[in-house]
């Protein structure tokens, strides 16, 4: 494996993702962990660009960094004083959780290293965005419409749940 510029970018992005992910789950102040979550989302978008998935990277920035983060900020602000750093933020499951998560990680990495991946050598001609657009409106038109119905149902449901009655 040669160590070129893409490899360096990958390792920088991976370090950012893992570091900010650890901050998200360990920081005591929920608002600070939300800011690290934004950094994590941006780094994941960088990984998508590195994998030649420009459209998904744009969607990631628009929906996660734009919409989901604003929703989380609203939720944190509306549940004031819960996020104050004096409140204990972790439960009693830290040690069992670490053991189980470590076991899952080791088993997954071991299985990955043992698997023979059927890697294809083909290269996509042209931009990925136009191929995605064509597939969404031909092969995947039924899941596309179902997802739009799910989204509108979830939005109406969220309004009804959070409404003051």
């Amino acid at each position: 494996m040669e160590f070129g510029t893409p490899a360096a970018i990958f390792y920088i992005l991976a370090a950012l993702i893992v570091g900010s992910g650890v901050m998200v789950v360990t920081l005591k102040n929920v608002f600070h962990s939300l800011l690290f979550l934004v950094l994590c989302f941006f780094s994941v978008a960088g990984i998508y660009v590195l994998l030649h998935a420009e459209f998904v990277a744009a969607v990631q920035v628009l929906i996660y960094v734009g919409a989901v983060t604003v929703l989380l900020i609203f939720a944190i602000m509306m549940t004031a004083k819960i996020y104050s750093p004096s409140v204990r933020q972790v439960n009693e499951q830290v040690i069992p959780g670490l053991i189980i998560v470590g076991t899952i990680l080791i088993v997954t990495l071991w299985a990955m290293s043992k698997t023979v991946w059927n890697v294809s050598r083909d290269v996509l001609a042209g931009q990925s965005t136009s191929v995605i657009g064509k597939s969404l409106l031909t092969t995947y038109v039924l899941p596309f419409e179902v997802v739009s119905i799910v989204l509108i149902t979830a939005l109406i449901g969220a309004i009804i749940i959070a409404r003051r009655d």
């Binding site: 994941v44 509306m78 991946w117 597939s135 003051r164």
Partner: protein
């Protein structure tokens, strides 16, 4: 970069997400950990799309679907959190166990 690099990164991020979802007391913290797990799954989808089926882009299309479903999940989840806060003045998940018995 090989496929295993991206899969390892995704596995690490997913395990961080599991840890957060298991140990956080704050319901919003649990939702943020779940978003981390969604992102790990998406990295997997797009890495497989790049390395296994580079011309079909199936993984990228399903990543878009996953992002849409994650947005719906975050909306409904946060609506429930706000409703629970209004009723109980509390969003720590080890205190909200009214449906347990």
């Amino acid at each position: 970069m090989t496929l295993v690099h991206y899969l390892s990164l995704s596995a690490i991020l997913f395990c961080i997400g599991i840890y957060g979802a298991v140990t956080r007391r704050n319901a919003i913290g649990v939702l943020m950990a779940i978003e981390l797990m969604f992102n790990a799954a998406n990295i997997n989808f797009i890495a497989f799309s790049k390395f296994i089926t580079p011309t079909l882009l199936t993984g990228q299309i399903f990543a878009v679907f996953v992002i849409a479903i994650a947005a719906a999940e975050a909306t409904v989840g946060l609506a429930i959190v706000i409703l629970i806060y209004r009723h109980h003045k509390e969003i720590n998940v080890d205190k909200i166990n009214v449906m347990k018995w």
